[in-house]
């Protein structure tokens, strides 16, 4: 095994372990921090692929913004941190069957995926960030998806402002 493969295994196991911990831990705040650790493990996998922009974006967006919000929300709902509640549901066996089916389907699909044996292609020496930026504003590249996502995010923002602003007192019905 090469050093890269060992590192990949280490971070993959770490990520899976932390993901399992974030589901299984009884303490919600600890579960949230386990989720953050899992996101960092994913960032490390990006780093092994030499996708430094994704590493930093993963840290800035998921850990910096989303994880902080999750932790904050979990802390605010302190009364719901019932550590003695059961963690299973009465439909748990059904969910297990479904999960097993999905896993089997994925395994069957991925076993025919040819690119596993391929080694990582050498990256061109130029600045990858600039190439990504060019691709995002290129009409034959990803311009339309990029703009569609931008419009969707804008509408979500406006909707959030509307929902939050509607409950203010002294503005008709709240």
């Amino acid at each position: 095994m090469t050093a890269d493969q060992i590192l990949f295994l280490v971070f993959a196991i770490l990520g899976l372990g932390l993901a399992a911990a974030s589901v299984a831990l009884r303490n919600l705040v600890r579960a949230a921090f386990a989720l953050i650790g899992c996101l960092f493990a994913v960032a490390a996998l990006y780093a092994l692929l030499e996708a430094s922009l994704f590493v930093v974006a993963q840290a800035a967006v998921y850990v910096g913004a989303i994880a902080v919000l999750i932790v904050l929300v979990v802390m605010l709902t302190r009364r719901e941190l019932r550590e003695k509640a059961t963690q299973t549901h009465r439909y748990a066996p059904l969910a297990a069957v479904l999960a097993a089916l999905i896993t089997a389907g994925l395994a069957a699909g991925l076993s025919r995926f040819a690119s596993f044996a391929r080694t990582m292609p050498a990256l061109p020496p130029d600045d990858m960030v600039i190439r990504l930026g060019d691709a995002l504003v290129d009409p034959s590249g990803f311009l339309i998806p990029f703009e569609a996502v931008s419009v969707m995010l804008l509408s979500v923002l406006i909707g959030a402002v509307f929902v939050a602003g509607g409950t203010r007192p002294g503005r008709g019905k709240g």
């Binding site: 303490n27 705040v29 600890r30 921090f33 953050i36 430094s52 922009l53 590493v55 930093v56 974006a57 840290a59 800035a60 850990v63 910096g64 913004a65 994880a67 902080v68 932790v71 904050l72 802390m75 605010l76 600045d127 990858m128 960030v129 600039i130 203010r168 002294g170």
Partner: protein, 393 residues
């Protein structure tokens, strides 16, 4: 004497080679040594920074400052560090032990991690990251997590309130700080810190885009949570904030992280806006470049200390108002203006372009100040204060 860093690296590798270390292992050992050296020297710098800050603040407040231990009180901080190390390390009985121990480590890690990409001199850095300018704010958010962790795991309502304030304040102020960093990135056309320094060969961005530099300094000051934005540890309201329950060396770690973060902001300002290690003769003699870099970092850091020593604390709602209603819109307008000017005047003479950029900065700054004068100051309940409420003491 030109390049101390290369000489040191050569010397260490020659010693290692003589010890019989195999050749392929050498770069790894050197990389680990470099990381160790950067981290340790950053943390040792704190000892000096605390003395520096205490002396400056004392002078500004017409005091003498530490002057008992060692010449000019230079050894005072070392005595303080020893005292902190010998103090008892307490853990709250009902707190969360694991997170309580993890929080100060995470906070220190986030600050020391910043030094991995900052170029100290020509060709001297921990790592030449392709996305260095984006890495800086991304690494700094770890500090927010550390504070949230500390506040929650302490099982103390003051610490928890401080953590909530931290989430509101640090996440808000990260926005204008990131936007301000975008200006030099756009002007240089690269996210690489080395490239940004190289692009400031003719003119510092702090001169052509002073507003961006000022907004970055202000927003970063709020991100560290130092006076006048030290609402996280407002002692009259929150005892000591998120580190109320911490004692001994764990408190010392938070303390050291705060001081080092403030100086690191000075260094980032030096890199992004003051030309980094550039100066007369710096390209030929990297040692000289390192001297320039340290001098510029201390100059920017001095501004932060000055603000801390002279400004009163800001109220939290006004502070968030200032971030969202003044700094963020001003930076958005400035980014648009800089993008247009940079493209429209791409072919025009050097000085015309710099002048236009400076003019745009001044205009946006004037607009922001006008906005600041007009903006209503809402009471904590929201809505405007009534005049009779404002009169009562």
């Amino acid at each position: 004497m030109g390049d101390v860093f290369a000489t040191a690296a050569d010397w260490i590798s020659s010693i290692l080679a003589r010890l019989g270390i195999p050749d392929p292992a050498l770069p790894w050992i050197l990389a680990v040594a470099r990381a160790f050296l950067l981290g340790v020297s950053g943390l040792l710098l704190v000892v000096f920074l605390i003395w520096f800050e205490r002396k400056i603040v004392a002078r500004m407040q017409d005091r003498i400052g530490p002057n008992r231990v060692g010449p000019y009180g230079l050894l005072q901080t070392i005595a303080d560090v020893l005292k902190l190390m010998l103090k008892e390390d307490l853990v709250p009985l009902r707190g969360d032990r694991i997170l309580f121990h993890l929080a100060p480590i995470l906070t220190v890690m986030s600050v020391v991690g910043l030094w991995a990409v900052i170029p100290l001199a020509a060709g001297v850095y921990g790592a030449d990251l392709e996305v260095g300018a984006l890495y800086l704010p991304a690494a700094a958010v770890l500090a927010t997590l550390g504070i949230l962790m500390a506040g929650w795991s302490s099982d103390n309502k003051f610490a928890l309130m401080s953590a909530f304030r931290a989430a509101a304040q640090l996440v808000s102020y990260a926005t204008p700080a990131m936007l301000a960093l975008l200006v030099p990135v756009m002007l240089a056309g690269t996210l690489r810190l080395d490239g940004i320094i190289a692009a400031q060969d003719g003119m510092w961005y702090g001169v052509t885009a002073p507003l961006a530099a000022l907004v970055f300094l202000t927003a970063s000051l709020a991100e560290v949570g130092r006076a006048p934005f030290e609402l996280l540890e407002a002692e009259s309201e929150l005892v000591a904030g998120f580190h109320t329950e911490y004692s001994g060396i764990r408190f010392g770690m938070f303390f050291a992280a705060e001081f080092l973060h403030a100086f690191t902001i000075g260094s980032i300002t030096a890199v992004m806006f003051l030309g980094g290690w550039q100066g007369p003769g710096a390209a030929r003699y990297p040692t000289l470049g390192a001297v320039y870099f340290v001098v510029k970092s201390f100059a920017a850091y001095f501004l932060l200390v000055w603000a801390r020593a002279t400004l009163p604390r800001v109220r939290i709602d006004r502070m968030l108002d200032f971030c969202w209603k003044v700094l963020t819109p001003a930076m958005l307008v400035l980014i648009g203006a800089v993008a247009v000017i940079d493209r429209a005047l791409a072919g025009s003479p050097f000085w015309a372009r710099q002048g236009a950029l400076l003019g745009a900065n001044v205009l946006v700054a004037a607009g922001a100040v006008a906005l600041l004068g007009r903006s209503p100051h809402p009471s904590p309940q929201g809505g405007r204060m009534k005049p009779e409420q404002e009169r009562t003491p």
